[in-house]
Amino acid sequence: MTTYDVYVAGGAVLFALGTYGLLERSHLVHKVIAANFMGSGIFLVLIGLANRTPTPEPDPVPQAMVLTGIVVTVAMTALGLAIVKRYFSETGRTTLDADEKPGERR
Protein backbone atom coordinates (compact mmCIF):
# COMPACT_ATOMS: atom_id res chain seq x y z
CA MET A 1 0.00 0.00 0.00
CA THR A 2 2.30 2.76 -1.26
CA THR A 3 1.74 6.35 -0.17
CA TYR A 4 -0.05 7.35 -3.38
CA ASP A 5 -2.57 4.52 -2.89
CA VAL A 6 -4.01 6.38 0.12
CA TYR A 7 -4.69 9.50 -1.98
CA VAL A 8 -6.10 7.49 -4.84
CA ALA A 9 -8.40 5.52 -2.52
CA GLY A 10 -9.44 8.78 -0.86
CA GLY A 11 -10.14 10.22 -4.29
CA ALA A 12 -12.26 7.22 -5.20
CA VAL A 13 -14.23 7.59 -1.94
CA LEU A 14 -14.83 11.28 -2.67
CA PHE A 15 -15.96 10.45 -6.23
CA ALA A 16 -18.39 7.79 -5.04
CA LEU A 17 -19.73 10.13 -2.34
CA GLY A 18 -20.16 12.89 -4.92
CA THR A 19 -21.96 10.53 -7.29
CA TYR A 20 -24.38 9.41 -4.59
CA GLY A 21 -24.99 13.02 -3.61
CA LEU A 22 -25.62 14.17 -7.17
CA LEU A 23 -27.95 11.25 -7.75
CA GLU A 24 -29.93 11.27 -4.58
CA ARG A 25 -30.01 14.72 -2.99
CA SER A 26 -33.00 16.65 -4.19
CA HIS A 27 -31.94 20.14 -3.08
CA LEU A 28 -30.26 21.81 -6.04
CA VAL A 29 -27.40 23.43 -4.14
CA HIS A 30 -26.62 20.05 -2.56
CA LYS A 31 -26.39 18.65 -6.08
CA VAL A 32 -23.90 21.35 -7.14
CA ILE A 33 -21.77 20.72 -4.07
CA ALA A 34 -21.92 16.97 -4.74
CA ALA A 35 -20.64 17.62 -8.27
CA ASN A 36 -17.69 19.47 -6.78
CA PHE A 37 -17.07 16.50 -4.53
CA MET A 38 -16.81 14.33 -7.62
CA GLY A 39 -14.40 16.84 -9.18
CA SER A 40 -12.04 16.97 -6.24
CA GLY A 41 -12.21 13.19 -6.02
CA ILE A 42 -10.97 12.87 -9.58
CA PHE A 43 -8.24 15.45 -9.03
CA LEU A 44 -7.01 13.48 -5.99
CA VAL A 45 -6.95 10.31 -8.11
CA LEU A 46 -5.08 12.15 -10.88
CA ILE A 47 -2.44 13.59 -8.56
CA GLY A 48 -2.13 10.32 -6.64
CA LEU A 49 -1.47 8.40 -9.85
CA ALA A 50 0.96 11.11 -11.03
CA ASN A 51 3.29 10.24 -8.17
CA ARG A 52 4.20 6.87 -9.59
CA THR A 53 7.05 8.41 -11.58
CA PRO A 54 10.52 7.06 -10.69
CA THR A 55 11.88 10.64 -10.44
CA PRO A 56 11.04 12.53 -7.21
CA GLU A 57 8.85 15.24 -8.82
CA PRO A 58 5.46 13.93 -10.06
CA ASP A 59 4.41 13.73 -13.73
CA PRO A 60 3.52 17.32 -14.84
CA VAL A 61 0.81 16.34 -17.35
CA PRO A 62 -1.76 15.18 -14.76
CA GLN A 63 -1.01 18.35 -12.81
CA ALA A 64 -1.81 20.46 -15.87
CA MET A 65 -4.96 18.39 -16.32
CA VAL A 66 -5.93 19.07 -12.70
CA LEU A 67 -5.43 22.81 -13.15
CA THR A 68 -7.57 22.84 -16.26
CA GLY A 69 -10.11 20.59 -14.54
CA ILE A 70 -10.35 22.97 -11.61
CA VAL A 71 -11.03 25.97 -13.81
CA VAL A 72 -13.68 24.07 -15.78
CA THR A 73 -15.37 22.86 -12.60
CA VAL A 74 -15.39 26.40 -11.24
CA ALA A 75 -17.04 27.59 -14.43
CA MET A 76 -19.70 24.89 -14.28
CA THR A 77 -20.39 25.46 -10.60
CA ALA A 78 -20.77 29.20 -11.13
CA LEU A 79 -23.26 28.63 -13.95
CA GLY A 80 -25.11 26.02 -11.89
CA LEU A 81 -25.48 28.32 -8.91
CA ALA A 82 -26.57 31.23 -11.12
CA ILE A 83 -29.32 29.10 -12.68
CA VAL A 84 -30.39 27.80 -9.25
CA LYS A 85 -30.67 31.37 -7.96
CA ARG A 86 -32.57 32.55 -11.01
CA TYR A 87 -34.89 29.48 -10.80
CA PHE A 88 -35.42 30.16 -7.08
CA SER A 89 -36.28 33.79 -7.70
CA GLU A 90 -38.68 32.81 -10.54
CA THR A 91 -40.48 29.88 -8.93
CA GLY A 92 -39.48 29.90 -5.30
CA ARG A 93 -38.56 26.22 -5.37
CA THR A 94 -35.21 24.69 -4.59
CA THR A 95 -35.78 21.31 -6.18
CA LEU A 96 -36.50 20.00 -9.62
CA ASP A 97 -40.29 19.35 -9.55
CA ALA A 98 -40.13 15.86 -10.90
CA ASP A 99 -37.73 14.79 -8.12
CA GLU A 100 -39.99 15.90 -5.26
CA LYS A 101 -39.59 13.40 -2.50
CA PRO A 102 -42.53 13.24 -0.07
CA GLY A 103 -41.87 15.29 3.07
CA GLU A 104 -39.33 17.40 1.23
CA ARG A 105 -39.11 20.97 2.54
CA ARG A 106 -40.15 23.46 -0.17
Partner: protein
Protein backbone atom coordinates in the same frame (compact mmCIF):
# COMPACT_ATOMS: atom_id res chain seq x y z
CA UNK B 1 0.79 32.37 -44.84
CA UNK B 2 -1.18 30.09 -47.13
CA UNK B 3 -4.59 29.64 -45.65
CA UNK B 4 -5.04 26.10 -46.88
CA UNK B 5 -2.28 24.70 -44.66
CA UNK B 6 -3.73 26.22 -41.45
CA UNK B 7 -7.37 25.40 -42.14
CA UNK B 8 -7.91 23.23 -39.05
CA UNK B 9 -6.60 25.95 -36.73
CA UNK B 10 -8.55 28.68 -38.52
CA UNK B 11 -11.75 26.64 -38.32
CA UNK B 12 -11.53 26.78 -34.53
CA UNK B 13 -10.10 30.28 -34.13
CA UNK B 14 -12.49 32.15 -36.47
CA UNK B 15 -15.68 31.45 -34.54
CA UNK B 16 -13.78 32.07 -31.28
CA UNK B 17 -12.66 35.49 -32.50
CA UNK B 18 -16.18 36.09 -33.79
CA UNK B 19 -17.55 35.32 -30.35
CA UNK B 20 -15.21 37.71 -28.60
CA UNK B 21 -15.87 40.49 -31.11
CA UNK B 22 -19.62 39.94 -30.86
CA UNK B 23 -19.38 40.09 -27.04
CA UNK B 24 -17.32 43.22 -27.04
CA UNK B 25 -19.22 44.96 -29.84
CA UNK B 26 -22.54 44.91 -28.01
CA UNK B 27 -26.15 44.09 -28.90
CA UNK B 28 -26.74 45.94 -32.14
CA UNK B 29 -23.58 44.91 -34.01
CA UNK B 30 -23.50 41.29 -32.75
CA UNK B 31 -25.93 39.84 -35.36
CA UNK B 32 -23.84 41.19 -38.24
CA UNK B 33 -20.62 39.86 -36.67
CA UNK B 34 -22.29 36.49 -36.30
CA UNK B 35 -23.43 36.52 -39.92
CA UNK B 36 -19.92 37.42 -41.13
CA UNK B 37 -18.34 34.67 -39.01
CA UNK B 38 -20.90 32.15 -40.27
CA UNK B 39 -20.17 32.88 -43.94
CA UNK B 40 -16.41 32.81 -43.29
CA UNK B 41 -16.80 29.46 -41.55
CA UNK B 42 -18.77 27.98 -44.46
CA UNK B 43 -16.03 29.02 -46.89
CA UNK B 44 -13.32 27.57 -44.65
CA UNK B 45 -15.26 24.34 -44.19
CA UNK B 46 -15.70 23.82 -47.93
CA UNK B 47 -11.99 24.52 -48.56
CA UNK B 48 -11.09 22.14 -45.75
CA UNK B 49 -13.28 19.35 -47.16
CA UNK B 50 -11.82 19.92 -50.64
CA UNK B 51 -8.29 19.62 -49.25
CA UNK B 52 -9.04 16.44 -47.33
CA UNK B 53 -10.64 14.92 -50.44
CA UNK B 54 -7.68 15.94 -52.59
CA UNK B 55 -4.78 15.03 -50.33
CA UNK B 56 -6.34 12.59 -47.86
CA UNK B 57 -6.24 12.90 -44.08
CA UNK B 58 -3.46 14.88 -42.34
CA UNK B 59 -2.51 15.95 -38.80
CA UNK B 60 -2.09 19.61 -37.72
CA UNK B 61 0.53 19.80 -34.91
CA UNK B 62 -0.43 22.69 -32.60
CA UNK B 63 2.60 24.36 -31.15
CA UNK B 64 4.78 22.28 -33.45
CA UNK B 65 5.40 19.61 -30.71
CA UNK B 66 3.76 16.58 -32.34
CA UNK B 67 1.58 13.85 -30.95
CA UNK B 68 2.35 12.58 -27.50
CA UNK B 69 3.58 15.83 -26.00
CA UNK B 70 1.50 18.46 -27.80
CA UNK B 71 -2.04 18.40 -29.08
CA UNK B 72 -2.73 17.48 -32.71
CA UNK B 73 -5.80 18.33 -34.79
CA UNK B 74 -6.83 15.34 -36.92
CA UNK B 75 -8.10 16.53 -40.31
CA UNK B 76 -9.77 13.55 -41.94
CA UNK B 77 -12.89 12.80 -43.98
CA UNK B 78 -15.24 12.29 -41.02
CA UNK B 79 -14.20 15.57 -39.37
CA UNK B 80 -14.58 17.41 -42.71
CA UNK B 81 -18.09 16.01 -43.21
CA UNK B 82 -19.33 17.02 -39.77
CA UNK B 83 -17.69 20.45 -40.03
CA UNK B 84 -19.35 21.11 -43.38
CA UNK B 85 -22.69 19.97 -41.89
CA UNK B 86 -22.16 22.26 -38.89
CA UNK B 87 -21.33 25.21 -41.12
CA UNK B 88 -24.37 24.75 -43.38
CA UNK B 89 -26.87 24.27 -40.56
CA UNK B 90 -25.05 26.98 -38.56
CA UNK B 91 -25.38 29.53 -41.35
CA UNK B 92 -29.09 28.80 -41.81
CA UNK B 93 -29.71 28.97 -38.04
CA UNK B 94 -27.81 32.27 -37.81
CA UNK B 95 -29.91 33.82 -40.61
CA UNK B 96 -33.10 32.46 -39.05
CA UNK B 97 -32.08 33.76 -35.60
CA UNK B 98 -31.45 37.27 -36.93
CA UNK B 99 -35.10 37.34 -38.09
CA UNK B 100 -36.34 35.53 -34.96
CA UNK B 101 -34.73 37.87 -32.39
CA UNK B 102 -35.30 41.14 -34.27
CA UNK B 103 -38.92 41.22 -33.21
CA UNK B 104 -38.28 40.66 -29.46
CA UNK B 105 -37.49 43.48 -26.96
CA UNK B 106 -33.77 44.13 -26.30
CA UNK B 107 -33.61 43.02 -22.65
CA UNK B 108 -35.07 39.61 -23.48
CA UNK B 109 -32.92 36.70 -24.59
CA UNK B 110 -29.93 37.48 -22.33
CA UNK B 111 -29.60 41.10 -23.31
CA UNK B 112 -28.32 40.29 -26.78
CA UNK B 113 -25.70 37.81 -25.55
CA UNK B 114 -27.35 35.09 -27.67
CA UNK B 115 -24.90 35.69 -30.51
CA UNK B 116 -21.79 35.30 -28.32
CA UNK B 117 -23.06 32.09 -26.77
CA UNK B 118 -24.06 30.77 -30.21
CA UNK B 119 -20.57 31.46 -31.66
CA UNK B 120 -18.93 29.88 -28.60
CA UNK B 121 -20.99 26.75 -29.24
CA UNK B 122 -19.89 26.83 -32.90
CA UNK B 123 -16.22 27.07 -31.81
CA UNK B 124 -16.58 24.14 -29.46
CA UNK B 125 -18.29 21.99 -32.11
CA UNK B 126 -15.52 22.65 -34.63
CA UNK B 127 -12.94 22.00 -31.88
CA UNK B 128 -14.64 18.74 -30.94
CA UNK B 129 -14.71 17.46 -34.53
CA UNK B 130 -11.04 18.28 -35.09
CA UNK B 131 -9.31 17.41 -31.85
CA UNK B 132 -7.13 14.33 -31.70
CA UNK B 133 -6.52 14.58 -27.96
CA UNK B 134 -8.70 12.84 -25.42
CA UNK B 135 -8.27 15.49 -22.68
CA UNK B 136 -8.90 18.28 -25.16
CA UNK B 137 -12.19 16.51 -25.92
CA UNK B 138 -13.07 17.00 -22.23
CA UNK B 139 -12.54 20.75 -22.51
CA UNK B 140 -14.48 20.98 -25.77
CA UNK B 141 -17.33 18.88 -24.37
CA UNK B 142 -17.49 21.30 -21.43
CA UNK B 143 -17.52 24.27 -23.80
CA UNK B 144 -20.41 22.69 -25.75
CA UNK B 145 -22.24 21.77 -22.56
CA UNK B 146 -22.10 25.17 -20.95
CA UNK B 147 -22.98 27.10 -24.13
CA UNK B 148 -25.89 24.73 -24.78
CA UNK B 149 -27.20 25.09 -21.23
CA UNK B 150 -26.85 28.89 -21.46
CA UNK B 151 -28.71 28.90 -24.81
CA UNK B 152 -31.51 26.76 -23.36
CA UNK B 153 -31.99 28.98 -20.30
CA UNK B 154 -31.67 32.18 -22.36
CA UNK B 155 -35.44 32.58 -22.81
CA UNK B 156 -35.68 32.75 -19.01
CA UNK B 157 -39.07 31.06 -18.36
CA UNK B 158 -39.42 28.55 -15.45
CA UNK B 159 -39.70 25.67 -17.93
CA UNK B 160 -36.54 26.76 -19.74
CA UNK B 161 -34.68 27.16 -16.45
CA UNK B 162 -35.74 23.74 -15.18
CA UNK B 163 -34.83 22.11 -18.51
CA UNK B 164 -31.51 23.97 -18.53
CA UNK B 165 -30.74 22.83 -15.01
CA UNK B 166 -31.46 19.17 -15.80
CA UNK B 167 -29.22 19.54 -18.86
CA UNK B 168 -26.45 21.11 -16.76
CA UNK B 169 -26.55 18.39 -14.10
CA UNK B 170 -26.53 15.77 -16.84
CA UNK B 171 -23.44 17.35 -18.43
CA UNK B 172 -21.79 17.69 -14.98
CA UNK B 173 -22.35 13.98 -14.35
CA UNK B 174 -21.07 13.22 -17.85
CA UNK B 175 -18.03 15.48 -17.59
CA UNK B 176 -16.95 14.03 -14.26
CA UNK B 177 -17.31 10.46 -15.46
CA UNK B 178 -15.39 11.33 -18.62
CA UNK B 179 -12.56 12.98 -16.67
CA UNK B 180 -12.26 9.94 -14.39
CA UNK B 181 -12.08 7.79 -17.52
CA UNK B 182 -9.27 9.98 -18.92
CA UNK B 183 -7.40 9.81 -15.62
CA UNK B 184 -7.49 6.01 -15.61
CA UNK B 185 -6.62 5.80 -19.31
CA UNK B 186 -3.63 8.11 -18.88
CA UNK B 187 -2.49 6.19 -15.82
CA UNK B 188 -2.49 2.95 -17.83
CA UNK B 189 -1.42 4.07 -21.33
CA UNK B 190 0.67 7.09 -20.44
CA UNK B 191 -0.68 9.28 -23.25
CA UNK B 192 -3.81 11.24 -24.10
CA UNK B 193 -3.36 11.50 -27.88
CA UNK B 194 -5.71 9.19 -29.76
CA UNK B 195 -3.16 8.01 -32.33
CA UNK B 196 -0.54 7.08 -29.69
CA UNK B 197 -3.26 5.50 -27.58
CA UNK B 198 -4.38 3.26 -30.43
CA UNK B 199 -0.81 1.92 -30.66
CA UNK B 200 -0.10 1.62 -26.93
CA UNK B 201 -3.50 0.28 -25.81
CA UNK B 202 -3.08 -3.00 -24.01
CA UNK B 203 -6.25 -4.76 -22.86
CA UNK B 204 -5.68 -4.32 -19.12
CA UNK B 205 -8.54 -3.59 -16.72
CA UNK B 206 -7.55 0.03 -16.01
CA UNK B 207 -7.50 1.13 -19.63
CA UNK B 208 -10.70 -0.82 -20.33
CA UNK B 209 -12.45 0.72 -17.32
CA UNK B 210 -11.28 4.17 -18.34
CA UNK B 211 -12.49 3.77 -21.92
CA UNK B 212 -15.78 2.30 -20.77
CA UNK B 213 -16.38 5.26 -18.45
CA UNK B 214 -15.53 7.70 -21.26
CA UNK B 215 -17.91 5.95 -23.66
CA UNK B 216 -20.64 5.95 -20.98
CA UNK B 217 -20.19 9.70 -20.43
CA UNK B 218 -20.38 10.38 -24.17
CA UNK B 219 -23.49 8.21 -24.43
CA UNK B 220 -25.08 10.41 -21.77
CA UNK B 221 -24.12 13.55 -23.71
CA UNK B 222 -25.60 12.02 -26.90
CA UNK B 223 -28.85 11.20 -25.03
CA UNK B 224 -29.03 7.53 -26.00
CA UNK B 225 -31.96 5.84 -24.21
CA UNK B 226 -32.00 5.42 -21.11
CA UNK B 227 -29.80 8.47 -20.70
CA UNK B 228 -32.12 10.57 -22.90
CA UNK B 229 -34.01 12.16 -19.96
CA UNK B 230 -32.61 15.64 -20.36
CA UNK B 231 -33.02 16.04 -24.16
CA UNK B 232 -36.78 16.38 -24.80
CA UNK B 233 -37.47 19.18 -22.31
CA UNK B 234 -34.20 20.97 -23.15
CA UNK B 235 -34.71 20.89 -26.92
CA UNK B 236 -38.40 21.75 -26.65
CA UNK B 237 -38.15 24.72 -24.27
CA UNK B 238 -35.19 26.38 -26.01
CA UNK B 239 -35.89 29.13 -28.57
CA UNK B 240 -36.47 27.70 -32.07
CA UNK B 241 -33.05 28.41 -33.65
CA UNK B 242 -31.37 26.92 -30.55
CA UNK B 243 -33.52 23.78 -30.63
CA UNK B 244 -32.61 23.31 -34.29
CA UNK B 245 -28.88 23.65 -33.52
CA UNK B 246 -29.10 21.36 -30.46
CA UNK B 247 -30.90 18.56 -32.25
CA UNK B 248 -29.04 18.80 -35.52
CA UNK B 249 -25.47 19.39 -34.32
CA UNK B 250 -24.78 19.18 -30.58
CA UNK B 251 -25.84 15.56 -30.12
CA UNK B 252 -23.66 14.70 -33.14
CA UNK B 253 -20.62 16.21 -31.41
CA UNK B 254 -20.38 13.67 -28.60
CA UNK B 255 -21.47 10.91 -31.03
CA UNK B 256 -18.45 11.84 -33.18
CA UNK B 257 -16.13 11.27 -30.23
CA UNK B 258 -17.74 7.88 -29.54
CA UNK B 259 -17.04 7.01 -33.20
CA UNK B 260 -13.42 8.09 -32.77
CA UNK B 261 -13.00 6.10 -29.54
CA UNK B 262 -14.80 2.92 -30.57
CA UNK B 263 -13.48 2.70 -34.15
CA UNK B 264 -10.10 4.52 -34.13
CA UNK B 265 -8.65 4.30 -30.64
CA UNK B 266 -9.73 0.82 -29.65
CA UNK B 267 -8.28 -2.01 -31.73
CA UNK B 268 -11.27 -3.89 -33.16
CA UNK B 269 -12.80 -6.39 -30.79
CA UNK B 270 -11.49 -4.44 -27.76
CA UNK B 271 -14.91 -3.87 -26.20
CA UNK B 272 -17.11 -6.51 -27.97
CA UNK B 273 -19.71 -6.61 -25.21
CA UNK B 274 -19.96 -2.82 -25.12
CA UNK B 275 -20.53 -2.64 -28.90
CA UNK B 276 -23.43 -5.05 -28.68
CA UNK B 277 -24.88 -3.17 -25.68
CA UNK B 278 -24.70 0.09 -27.65
CA UNK B 279 -26.43 -1.60 -30.57
CA UNK B 280 -29.19 -2.95 -28.33
CA UNK B 281 -29.63 0.46 -26.66
CA UNK B 282 -29.77 1.99 -30.17
CA UNK B 283 -32.59 -0.35 -31.11
CA UNK B 284 -34.37 0.45 -27.84
CA UNK B 285 -33.92 4.16 -28.55
CA UNK B 286 -35.49 3.82 -32.00
CA UNK B 287 -38.56 2.06 -30.62
CA UNK B 288 -38.96 4.09 -27.42
CA UNK B 289 -38.32 7.44 -29.09
CA UNK B 290 -40.79 6.77 -31.87
CA UNK B 291 -43.47 5.51 -29.50
CA UNK B 292 -43.06 8.58 -27.33
CA UNK B 293 -43.13 10.83 -30.38
CA UNK B 294 -46.44 9.18 -31.32
CA UNK B 295 -48.11 10.18 -28.07
CA UNK B 296 -46.85 13.74 -27.70
CA UNK B 297 -49.38 16.53 -27.86
CA UNK B 298 -46.95 19.47 -28.29
CA UNK B 299 -45.15 19.85 -31.60
CA UNK B 300 -41.64 20.63 -30.28
CA UNK B 301 -41.71 17.67 -27.88
CA UNK B 302 -42.72 15.43 -30.80
CA UNK B 303 -39.71 16.63 -32.80
CA UNK B 304 -37.41 16.27 -29.75
CA UNK B 305 -38.49 12.67 -29.16
CA UNK B 306 -37.95 12.05 -32.87
CA UNK B 307 -34.33 13.08 -32.26
CA UNK B 308 -34.09 10.53 -29.44
CA UNK B 309 -35.32 7.91 -31.92
CA UNK B 310 -33.06 8.91 -34.80
CA UNK B 311 -29.98 8.84 -32.53
CA UNK B 312 -30.71 5.16 -32.06
CA UNK B 313 -29.88 4.55 -35.75
CA UNK B 314 -26.40 6.04 -35.29
CA UNK B 315 -25.47 3.54 -32.59
CA UNK B 316 -26.28 0.54 -34.80
CA UNK B 317 -22.92 1.06 -36.51
CA UNK B 318 -20.94 -0.30 -33.55
CA UNK B 319 -22.18 -3.91 -33.50
CA UNK B 320 -21.92 -3.95 -37.31
CA UNK B 321 -18.36 -2.60 -37.34
CA UNK B 322 -16.99 -5.79 -35.82
CA UNK B 323 -17.53 -7.97 -38.90
CA UNK B 324 -14.59 -7.26 -41.12
CA UNK B 325 -13.48 -4.48 -43.42
CA UNK B 326 -16.20 -4.11 -46.06
CA UNK B 327 -19.07 -4.30 -43.55
CA UNK B 328 -17.26 -1.59 -41.53
CA UNK B 329 -17.03 0.59 -44.67
CA UNK B 330 -20.74 0.12 -45.47
CA UNK B 331 -21.88 0.67 -41.88
CA UNK B 332 -19.66 3.72 -41.30
CA UNK B 333 -20.72 5.37 -44.57
CA UNK B 334 -24.33 4.63 -43.67
CA UNK B 335 -23.95 6.18 -40.22
CA UNK B 336 -22.25 9.28 -41.65
CA UNK B 337 -24.92 9.73 -44.32
CA UNK B 338 -27.62 9.28 -41.67
CA UNK B 339 -25.97 11.80 -39.34
CA UNK B 340 -25.78 14.36 -42.17
CA UNK B 341 -29.28 13.70 -43.48
CA UNK B 342 -30.73 13.82 -39.96
CA UNK B 343 -28.81 17.02 -39.20
CA UNK B 344 -30.24 18.80 -42.23
CA UNK B 345 -33.77 17.39 -41.97
CA UNK B 346 -34.09 17.82 -38.18
CA UNK B 347 -32.73 21.36 -38.37
CA UNK B 348 -35.32 22.12 -41.05
CA UNK B 349 -38.09 20.41 -39.10
CA UNK B 350 -37.40 22.38 -35.91
CA UNK B 351 -37.27 25.68 -37.83
CA UNK B 352 -40.54 24.74 -39.56
CA UNK B 353 -42.09 23.83 -36.18
CA UNK B 354 -40.92 27.21 -34.87
CA UNK B 355 -42.53 28.89 -37.86
CA UNK B 356 -45.80 27.05 -37.18
CA UNK B 357 -45.68 28.13 -33.54
CA UNK B 358 -45.16 31.80 -34.45
CA UNK B 359 -47.94 31.52 -37.08
CA UNK B 360 -50.51 29.81 -34.75
CA UNK B 361 -49.38 31.47 -31.54
CA UNK B 362 -49.29 28.18 -29.60
CA UNK B 363 -47.57 24.82 -29.88
CA UNK B 364 -50.58 22.52 -29.25
CA UNK B 365 -50.57 20.01 -32.11
CA UNK B 366 -54.31 19.36 -32.02
CA UNK B 367 -55.20 22.93 -32.94
CA UNK B 368 -52.85 23.21 -35.92
CA UNK B 369 -55.35 21.90 -38.47
CA UNK B 370 -55.55 23.70 -41.79
CA UNK B 371 -51.86 24.66 -41.71
CA UNK B 372 -51.55 23.42 -45.30
CA UNK B 373 -53.64 26.32 -46.47
CA UNK B 374 -52.27 28.86 -44.00
CA UNK B 375 -48.54 28.20 -44.38
CA UNK B 376 -48.13 25.85 -47.38
CA UNK B 377 -44.35 26.22 -47.55
CA UNK B 378 -43.83 25.19 -43.90
CA UNK B 379 -46.17 22.21 -44.30
CA UNK B 380 -44.21 21.12 -47.36
CA UNK B 381 -40.98 21.48 -45.38
CA UNK B 382 -42.40 19.29 -42.61
CA UNK B 383 -43.46 16.69 -45.20
CA UNK B 384 -40.01 16.73 -46.83
CA UNK B 385 -38.26 16.27 -43.48
CA UNK B 386 -40.67 13.41 -42.83
CA UNK B 387 -39.48 11.72 -46.02
CA UNK B 388 -35.90 11.80 -44.71
CA UNK B 389 -36.83 10.70 -41.19
CA UNK B 390 -38.66 7.70 -42.57
CA UNK B 391 -35.76 6.83 -44.84
CA UNK B 392 -38.01 6.75 -47.90
CA UNK B 393 -36.43 7.36 -51.31
CA UNK B 394 -35.66 9.94 -52.69
CA UNK B 395 -33.85 11.13 -49.55
CA UNK B 396 -30.50 10.95 -47.81
CA UNK B 397 -32.25 9.01 -45.09
CA UNK B 398 -33.07 6.29 -47.61
CA UNK B 399 -29.45 6.04 -48.72
CA UNK B 400 -28.37 5.68 -45.07
CA UNK B 401 -30.99 3.03 -44.39
CA UNK B 402 -29.96 1.20 -47.56
CA UNK B 403 -26.30 1.16 -46.56
CA UNK B 404 -27.00 0.06 -43.00
CA UNK B 405 -29.37 -2.71 -44.14
CA UNK B 406 -26.81 -3.92 -46.69
CA UNK B 407 -24.19 -3.92 -43.94
CA UNK B 408 -26.49 -5.84 -41.61
CA UNK B 409 -27.34 -8.42 -44.27
CA UNK B 410 -23.73 -8.84 -45.45
CA UNK B 411 -22.55 -9.28 -41.88
CA UNK B 412 -25.17 -11.96 -41.29
CA UNK B 413 -26.53 -10.17 -38.22
CA UNK B 414 -29.85 -9.69 -40.03
CA UNK B 415 -31.75 -8.58 -36.89
CA UNK B 416 -30.30 -5.10 -37.16
CA UNK B 417 -31.96 -4.88 -40.58
CA UNK B 418 -35.27 -5.73 -38.93
CA UNK B 419 -34.72 -2.96 -36.39
CA UNK B 420 -34.01 -0.50 -39.21
CA UNK B 421 -37.14 -1.44 -41.13
CA UNK B 422 -39.33 -1.29 -38.01
CA UNK B 423 -37.76 2.06 -37.15
CA UNK B 424 -38.65 3.37 -40.59
CA UNK B 425 -42.29 2.32 -40.17
CA UNK B 426 -42.50 3.83 -36.66
CA UNK B 427 -41.03 7.07 -37.99
CA UNK B 428 -43.68 6.97 -40.71
CA UNK B 429 -46.33 6.64 -37.98
CA UNK B 430 -45.42 9.78 -36.05
CA UNK B 431 -44.41 11.86 -39.07
CA UNK B 432 -47.58 11.17 -41.02
CA UNK B 433 -49.65 11.78 -37.91
CA UNK B 434 -48.11 15.25 -37.87
CA UNK B 435 -48.59 15.77 -41.62
CA UNK B 436 -52.17 14.48 -41.49
CA UNK B 437 -53.03 17.10 -38.87
CA UNK B 438 -51.46 19.91 -40.85
CA UNK B 439 -53.20 18.82 -44.07
CA UNK B 440 -56.58 18.23 -42.39
CA UNK B 441 -59.31 20.71 -43.24
CA UNK B 442 -59.74 23.21 -40.39
CA UNK B 443 -63.34 24.10 -39.47
CA UNK B 444 -64.24 27.29 -41.34
CA UNK B 445 -64.22 29.74 -38.43
CA UNK B 446 -60.82 28.74 -37.05
CA UNK B 447 -59.15 28.31 -40.48
CA UNK B 448 -56.17 30.71 -40.30
CA UNK B 449 -55.78 33.02 -43.29
CA UNK B 450 -52.78 32.29 -45.53
CA UNK B 451 -49.96 34.60 -44.27
CA UNK B 452 -46.42 33.49 -44.97
CA UNK B 453 -43.97 33.55 -42.03
CA UNK B 454 -40.99 35.79 -42.86
CA UNK B 455 -38.19 33.21 -42.86
CA UNK B 456 -40.27 30.26 -44.06
CA UNK B 457 -37.95 29.51 -46.97
CA UNK B 458 -35.06 28.47 -44.71
CA UNK B 459 -36.65 25.27 -43.35
CA UNK B 460 -37.66 24.38 -46.90
CA UNK B 461 -34.06 24.88 -48.07
CA UNK B 462 -32.68 22.64 -45.30
CA UNK B 463 -35.18 19.83 -45.80
CA UNK B 464 -34.76 19.99 -49.58
CA UNK B 465 -31.01 19.67 -49.02
CA UNK B 466 -31.66 16.58 -46.91
CA UNK B 467 -33.66 15.09 -49.79
CA UNK B 468 -31.11 16.04 -52.47
CA UNK B 469 -28.40 14.46 -50.29
CA UNK B 470 -29.21 11.22 -52.16
CA UNK B 471 -27.14 12.55 -55.05
CA UNK B 472 -24.32 13.67 -52.73
CA UNK B 473 -23.82 10.16 -51.33
CA UNK B 474 -20.80 9.38 -53.55
CA UNK B 475 -19.13 12.50 -52.12
CA UNK B 476 -19.85 11.39 -48.55
CA UNK B 477 -18.59 7.87 -49.22
CA UNK B 478 -15.33 9.35 -50.56
CA UNK B 479 -15.06 11.47 -47.40
CA UNK B 480 -15.71 8.37 -45.30
CA UNK B 481 -13.02 6.52 -47.21
CA UNK B 482 -10.71 9.44 -46.45
CA UNK B 483 -11.28 8.95 -42.70
CA UNK B 484 -8.52 7.55 -40.52
CA UNK B 485 -10.80 4.73 -39.39
CA UNK B 486 -11.19 3.24 -42.84
CA UNK B 487 -7.69 4.08 -43.98
CA UNK B 488 -6.22 2.28 -40.94
CA UNK B 489 -8.55 -0.64 -41.74
CA UNK B 490 -7.02 -0.67 -45.21
CA UNK B 491 -10.18 0.24 -47.16
CA UNK B 492 -9.19 1.79 -50.50
CA UNK B 493 -11.59 4.60 -51.49
Amino acid sequence: MNVVHHLPALLVITPLVGACVAFVAGRRVAPHVALATATADVVLAVLFAARVLAEGPFRYRIGGWGAPMGIDLVADGMAALFIVLTSIVGLVVTVYASGYFRSTDPTAYGHGLFWTLWLFMWTSLNGLFLTGDVFNVYVCIELVGISAVALVTISGGPDALRAGMRYLFASMLGAMTYLLGVALLYASAGAVDMATLSERLVPDTTAATGLALMVAALVLKTALVPAHFWLPTAHASAPTPVSAALSALVVKGSYFVVLRLMLDVMPDGYLPGAATLLGVLGAAAIVWGSVQALVQTRIKLLVAYSTVAQIGYLFLVFPLARNGRDVLALALTGALVHATAHGLAKGGLFLAAGGLITRFGHDRLAEMRGAARAVPVLTFAVALSGVTMMGLPPSGGFAAKWLLISAALTSGEWWWAVVLVVGGLLAAAYMFRLVAILIADAPAETAPAPKPVRTEWLPLALTAAAVLLLFAVPLISDLAAASTTLQSAGVTP
